[in-house]
């Protein structure tokens, strides 16, 4: 058994690498299912990360910290909503601007907090269960956000495919004109979806600054927002596959780190590329199956809705 001792820590790090992607991915999935493309995930994650970190540092209350991160992300998303849904600005340009804005804003907010240490988000510890060999630390020894990420995936999946609210959300993303003519408030529904996406991105960011590496550093999301966006295409807009994709990407990230540490005779830059290469490869393979994308991709994504006629 002792030969497998190294497996548990690897799995644990994979989980921490994947969790922020799960949050950001599932939130953006809801946004996109309503027909809105918000490329500002990275910016929303950063603002969430810094807001959560500052709140944790000042109050010491991690529930407040996660709440603050969600709120900050939702406010950023609301801003995006005002610009794209009410003022009908181009979604791609606005999303890119939101990311740039988020990078700057988070750096400004966190200026005085760089390098300040906080305690990592505490992990579950159930006497007996958490001490079980192998499965104990993996299943019963995670922090609350990891469990929450799984709950959110299940919740979103249930909401989208089992409830009327989810049906309406998907309908708005599939044809906003038809939804409007039947009488659904397209813009209001999209506001809600966009803000949910922002809140989830905020929590995803906060996971980085509260649990993954409990500190604040400028630009600490390091492109995870973009990976989350790619994951949704990878997952062909299915919540369950977002989870799979996030863990696959997290897994490759961690494995290449271990490979580098083990002194594998490959340039480290090549290894660092692996997660991204894998993402591109999978995206290409998935795009080949047109009917699958057509079935699940929201047809109205990125299109501006003019409620006129």
């Amino acid at each position: 058994m002792s030969g497998f001792d190294w497996v548990v820590p690897i799995i644990l790090t994979v989980i921490t690498a994947a969790t922020p992607l799960v949050f950001a991915g599932i939130g953006e999935l809801v946004t996109e299912k309503s027909g809105v493309l918000n490329l500002g995930v990275e910016g929303m994650m950063l603002v969430g990360a810094v807001s959560g970190f500052i709140t944790a540092l000042v109050t010491g209350n991690y529930f407040l910290a996660v709440g603050a991160a969600a709120l900050a992300g939702a406010i950023m998303a609301f801003l995006f909503g005002v610009l794209t849904l009410s003022l009908m600005a181009n979604q791609v340009a606005t999303g890119l601007a939101l990311t740039l804005f988020g990078v700057g804003l988070s750096a400004l907010m966190g200026q005085e907090f760089v390098g300040e240490p906080i305690a990592a988000l505490s992990k579950l510890n159930i006497t007996g269960l958490s001490d079980l060999p192998f499965i104990g630390p993996i299943i019963f020894g995670q922090d609350v956000l990891v469990y929450l990420s799984f709950v959110m995936v299940a919740l979103v999946s249930w909401l989208l495919y089992k409830t009327k609210a989810g049906l309406i959300l998907r309908a708005v993303g599939d044809s906003h004109d038809a939804a409007h003519s039947i009488g659904y408030p397209v813009i209001a529904i999209r506001y809600l979806a966009v803000m949910f996406g922002g809140a989830m991105s905020g929590i995803g960011g906060a996971y980085l600054s509260l649990a993954y590496t409990p500190m604040w550093a400028e630009n600490m999301t390091a492109g995870r927002g973009w990976i989350a966006l790619a994951l949704i295409v990878f997952a062909t807009w299915k919540p369950g596959l977002v989870l799979v994709g996030a863990y696959m990407f997290g897994g490759i990230t961690i494995l290449q780190l271990h490979a580098q540490a083990a002194g594998l005779n490959v340039p480290s830059q090549v290894l660092s590329m692996l997660p991204y290469l894998a993402t591109i490869l999978v995206l290409v393979l998935i795009s080949k199956d047109e009917s699958r994308i057509r079935k699940h991709a929201p047809a109205c994504i990125g299109k501006i809705f003019h409620p006129a006629a």
């Binding site: 049906l167 004109d177 939804a179 003519s181 009488g183 057509r294 699940h296 047809a299």
Partner: protein
């Protein structure tokens, strides 16, 4: 004037007025519908019918005027309210969601909560009892236009409305299907349901409707009893001038074969698609060849094989003027003189968000020589677009407006005009006058006949048998991916065609398939 019937009208409109920037869509319109009355709303495209019915359904709000529902004034701020008080509507441009199933689409159009299992059962029950077979679990994007329309109708019927608004419900049905639906409507009328019926088919309005209100240019023109009018007099009231029937040319059997299709078999590449099975036909120069059939029997697949969107395995399967074109794509086929007017004019026939000039360029750049060393020749493109607008009487504020800004009939005239001006040797047209008013339809028919007389071969795929009988020289029927032998117009009756269309692919069987799926 005519209000000497007893009782309270189910719906009364007084002075409904709605203005858009630059146009008065409804100008003080009055309308009265009694319980159980089938009331026709007649008018050309752009006469304000859609605006009026959208106001009744709560999609639009009138600037002025009153809506009186069963005796008391109401405001209808949104469609939910309309459905709640008992108004159902079948849209002309479907309000359907392509990536969803039939059941999901119907659930979305109903207020309140539904149990999907119960809803599915109700759908099968209602659709069978009204002769509108539907498979609840099919995805809408795999369905034909005709099948999509059934969803809209069933969606309304499930809500047991007191007033049913129907925007051209029969335009995609076979005569038998339409007759069956008239029975349904008469039954509903007998049950006291009022029906506001919009259609361009004047014969069916005469047959079905008790009253007709005629609109022209946004204004109320008159109310009449359609049973006492002729189709011609109704049409003339609508357009305000005299109408000419299409002049039929002499049948030209002697012309050389221009389009020859032999043993065309293609397996559908989408779920629920129809496999084409050994299709053979010829179209001669000077001839209009009509293909009739109920939507969803292989028309989409046949059209995409002919246009080049689907490539055949064998080049000899399709011969154009003796040249094998089976393995060529749409552009090379176009260069050889094959022009194509698809079924869906917004999205397939044109790019809705692009200007008319750009839409003209996209299909005509090669044959109209609109490229200048790889660059777009803007002046000749604009000339080409203007010529289409002028020659085909396309009513638009200008060629620098988007395709989506045109009404259905005008866009159809534009698309037909765009192809005809390229002087094609072969023109393939799908549903040329679907949702087009009588004036524009007559114009398009005449255009096709003129084109054939000039020596082109014209292939028309349509569900409208009156149309096929008015313009075709020979007619064949497509059913379940098989094409019947083409027959001269004087050798075949509407009834025979109807039977071929229903044939082995009848209502009962389709409904039975739903249970298996």
């Amino acid at each position: 004037m005519n209000g000497n019937e007893g009782g309270t009208p189910q719906l009364e409109l007084r002075g409904i007025t709605k203005a858009y920037p630059g146009c008065l869509a409804n100008d003080h319109i009055d309308l009265k519908i009694m319980p159980g009355e089938i009331h026709a709303l007649l008018g050309e495209n752009g006469a304000g019918k859609s605006t009026l019915v959208k106001t009744i359904y709560g999609v639009l709000q009138a600037d002025e005027g009153e809506i009186i529902w069963a005796g008391s004034p109401v405001t209808i701020p949104n469609p939910h309210t309309a459905r709640k008080i008992g108004i159902g509507m079948v849209f002309q441009h479907f309000s359907l969601f392509e990536a969803m199933t039939v059941t999901e689409n119907i659930a979305l159009g109903m207020s309140g909560r539904q149990d999907m299992k119960i809803l599915e059962r109700d759908i099968i029950e209602v659709s069978n009892s009204y002769g509108l077979p539907l498979e609840p679990n099919r995805q809408v994007h795999t369905l034909s236009v005709g099948e999509k329309q059934r969803i809209e109708i069933v969606r309304c019927l499930l809500q047991k409305p007191k007033l049913l608004i129907m925007d051209e419900p029969t335009s995609v049905l076979t005569p038998q299907e339409a007759e069956k639906m008239f029975e349904t409507l008469r039954r509903l009328s007998g049950e006291g349901v009022s029906i506001l019926y919009i259609s361009h088919k004047l014969d069916e309005i005469k047959e079905l409707c008790h009253k007709a209100t005629i609109l022209r240019g946004g204004k109320y023109i008159s109310e009449c009893d359609p049973t006492k009018e002729t189709a011609k007099s109704l049409a003339e009231m609508m357009i305000g001038t005299n109408l000419r029937a299409p002049e039929h040319h002499e049948t030209a059997n002697g012309g050389p074969i221009r389009l020859k299709v032999r043993d065309l078999s293609i397996d559908a590449d989408v779920e629920f698609g129809v496999n084409l099975n050994a299709i053979n036909f010829d179209v001669r120069s000077g001839e209009i060849f009509g293909i009739a059939g109920v939507a969803g029997n292989g028309q989409i697949e046949l059209l995409s094989a002919l246009s080049g969107e689907t490539i055949c395995r064998n080049p000899d399967t399709i011969m154009l003027d003796g040249k094998p074109i089976g393995r060529l794509g749409p552009n090379p086929r176009r260069d050889l003189g094959l022009a194509f007017v698809p079924e869906d004019r917004l999205g397939h026939g044109s790019v809705p968000e692009m200007l008319l000039t750009e839409n003209a360029f996209l299909s005509g750049y090669s044959r109209m020589a609109l490229l200048n060393g790889g660059f777009i020749n803007n002046s000749s493109t604009a000339e080409y677009a203007s010529e289409i607008v002028k020659e085909f009487d396309v009513r638009t504020p200008g060629i620098h407006h988007t395709a989506s800004s045109l009404s259905g009939g005008n866009l159809q005239k534009f698309i037909v005009g765009r192809e005809v001006l390229q002087k094609p040797g072969i023109l393939i047209v799908a549903h040329p006058t679907w949702g087009v008013d009588a004036g524009a339809a007559a114009f398009i028919h005449q255009t096709l006949i003129d084109l054939a007389e000039a020596g082109a071969a014209v292939l028309v795929v349509s569900q409208d048998l009156d149309e096929l009988f008015a313009i075709s020289d020979r007619i064949a029927v497509i059913a379940e991916g098989r094409l019947s032998v083409g027959r001269e117009l004087n050798e075949i009756t509407i009834e025979e065609i109807g039977l071929l269309m229903g044939g082995t692919h009848g209502m009962g069987e389709t409904a039975g398939a739903a249970d298996v799926a």
